[in-house]
Symmetry: C2
Subunit: 437 residues, 2 copies
Amino acid sequence: MKELRVGLLGIGTVGGGTFTVLQRNQADISRRLGTHIHITLVADRNLALAKEVTGGQVTVTDDAFAVVNHPDIDVVVELIGGYTVAKELVLTAIANGKHVVTANKALLAVHGNEIFQAAANKGVIVAYEAAVAGGIPIIKALREGLSANKIEWVAGIINGTTNFILSEMRDKGLAFTEVLSEAQRLGYAEADPTFDVEGIDAAHKLTIMASIAFGIPLQFDQAYTEGITQLTTKDIQYAEELGYRVKLLGITKQSAAGVELRVHPTLIPEKRLIANVNGAMNAVLVKGDAVGPTLYYGAGAGAEPTASSVVADLIDIARAQATPFEQRVPYLGMPLDQQQPLPMLPISEISTAYYLRMRVLDKPGVLAEVTKILSDGEISIDAMMQKEPQEGEAEADIVILTHVTLEKTMDIAIKAIEGLAAIDGQVTKIRMEELGR
Amino acid sequence: MKELRVGLLGIGTVGGGTFTVLQRNQADISRRLGTHIHITLVADRNLALAKEVTGGQVTVTDDAFAVVNHPDIDVVVELIGGYTVAKELVLTAIANGKHVVTANKALLAVHGNEIFQAAANKGVIVAYEAAVAGGIPIIKALREGLSANKIEWVAGIINGTTNFILSEMRDKGLAFTEVLSEAQRLGYAEADPTFDVEGIDAAHKLTIMASIAFGIPLQFDQAYTEGITQLTTKDIQYAEELGYRVKLLGITKQSAAGVELRVHPTLIPEKRLIANVNGAMNAVLVKGDAVGPTLYYGAGAGAEPTASSVVADLIDIARAQATPFEQRVPYLGMPLDQQQPLPMLPISEISTAYYLRMRVLDKPGVLAEVTKILSDGEISIDAMMQKEPQEGEAEADIVILTHVTLEKTMDIAIKAIEGLAAIDGQVTKIRMEELGR
């Protein structure tokens, strides 16, 4: 087998991890593979860092284009991130006939259709196990392990930062902003946490999984995204009392009407395994028609977990490099020319159960008015909880769990409820998923 | 791509499931694959059943050898089970240059080295995703997804029957024999449940995973196997009070001393995800040096979950059939000529923590004697619980959790404890695993 000469773009956290893992496990990997994987060129703007990490064993440069244009590189590993330069580098590498490994979910979710088409035209591989759920081999599971199935839905905790924040909010009863600061201090959240806390990062990963699950093009612009910044510890506690945990889930589901693609805080029954995934860990639950529900759990970020996926991709590429294009596993499970653009449902057209919380004046008849509105909308109630007003307060919290309802129907009912004289302020709405059958 | 002509041996539960899944999802599978997978020949001793399941669309025969010797068959799917005829059929298929898919863990654990060597000599594929943990793509995860890692240990709930029984014993407080009858009535346990309840089936699957994890030959005869027939609801309850669940785990671990390969009831901290895998479900926890702990969960048995893995193997074979032998993923992750026969540790040489329960006369000084023995053996105590004697009884239960200790050291201490005058009967010993770092 031909040995693999690798050019690494970016020697930060994941790049450094990739270098370390390859070096530490080189002997075993070469025995498994029957050939060697060599990082022969490293590009980083921080040349001193690149020299330090590689220990002077590898040529380093601050010119990433020197790597993607180098004639002796077989595979480019893109670990720079972002959309702009990374895209140009990846497309140049492909144009030069090089395989690509990337951990860049934003790039793939937004420009993946173009990138994969370019790669198909040149007959090169673009591998991206590290782009979704870090070290968990979820791309391989979805694309190969479950290839016999019609996938019905995928639901994942695919952002470690927000899962860490939600776990801390629950465990310590702290508010979102307090925990965010703590997470930033610990390095679990970035200085600008928008991509994480607003669900954008999760939506990138979900977009990729949806494409594989349903054989559709990547459509990040169709994803509904709602973050955790509005979540209160009160709702987390009420959910808990009702037997639920609140998680930021990426959910994609195929129904007769079309494909749902949405990221939002979600109540999950506490008895589900995925409800018990805590801290910065990730987990993806996949429901196939033959296999039923399966779950994949592990570290979703970090130097070596992510490197584990990058290096596994390199090993796959070393094996597949001589395989004819049509014999390889298609980039997104389905060959590009076989993808079907199924209708994508806007959030108003999705169907799910709901957790509703409202503050009501503590006087007779309010509940009757609220339940009348729900009943008029043909929304059935699954559970209800009325909390005593706090000492000295005239208002109480009412929490209602509904059965599955069309979102736009729910929103009409909520507007009507908010119009009631006895209701103070807005109704808090959190979606709820059983994740069973 | 060449279309794949499949001969199916056995059209029972899994064979029927395979036929159904392939038929139902044929269109999608063909789009993903760019070719067709056709079951063209089915062998079963029950010809009427074979005709009924296949609906007259496929040639059926009661002569399995007619399938493995048929010139127009590319892949033989062996779903007969057992060691004898199945082995002859598989070896004949290989000798005839056919690829093989099998769900037969017993066959592979016991005769796998011979079978894979024969397959290597002929350059054919033997795929067996369905042999371990049913529908969970754990073989693919271990062999490919985590290929960058040095695997440190694997711990799995890999027998659904015993996990169902243990879950019921815990939930309902029923004795083993009662739940076993119930499980047999429900079809979760066979009429002769020995393979399941004595841990033999789990040891078969563990043997296969150990080979992949550590690059060693299959060595079922080195596996230590202890079932759940001696487990009492009392110990399950005490474990619960101490924050643990009891699961039948298959554990394989590499240390400086060698490889541990053992199946036995195990206490696991209740906060671990795997401790919360209930009913007939399976889960495998894999610790890699780069990725950290990862977990894979799903149905470990049943018609369609197992078929999901069989059909995924067929899809892989369709893709890999034209790939040169050395470019394919090795049968057991490591090429046969690169396997290393690491020392296998007998159970006396393993190290783990322990749960000990003893019945003691309720009088002063007993505990001092017991703890003196442990201390003399340099066994440290992690937790202890003394239960009040029941009304009218003179004896009380003492439960001790120890830190990690060499098993033979533990056994010497237990002998000494059992020799104390105040100790009634034998000490119950259950191994305990943290399954954290």
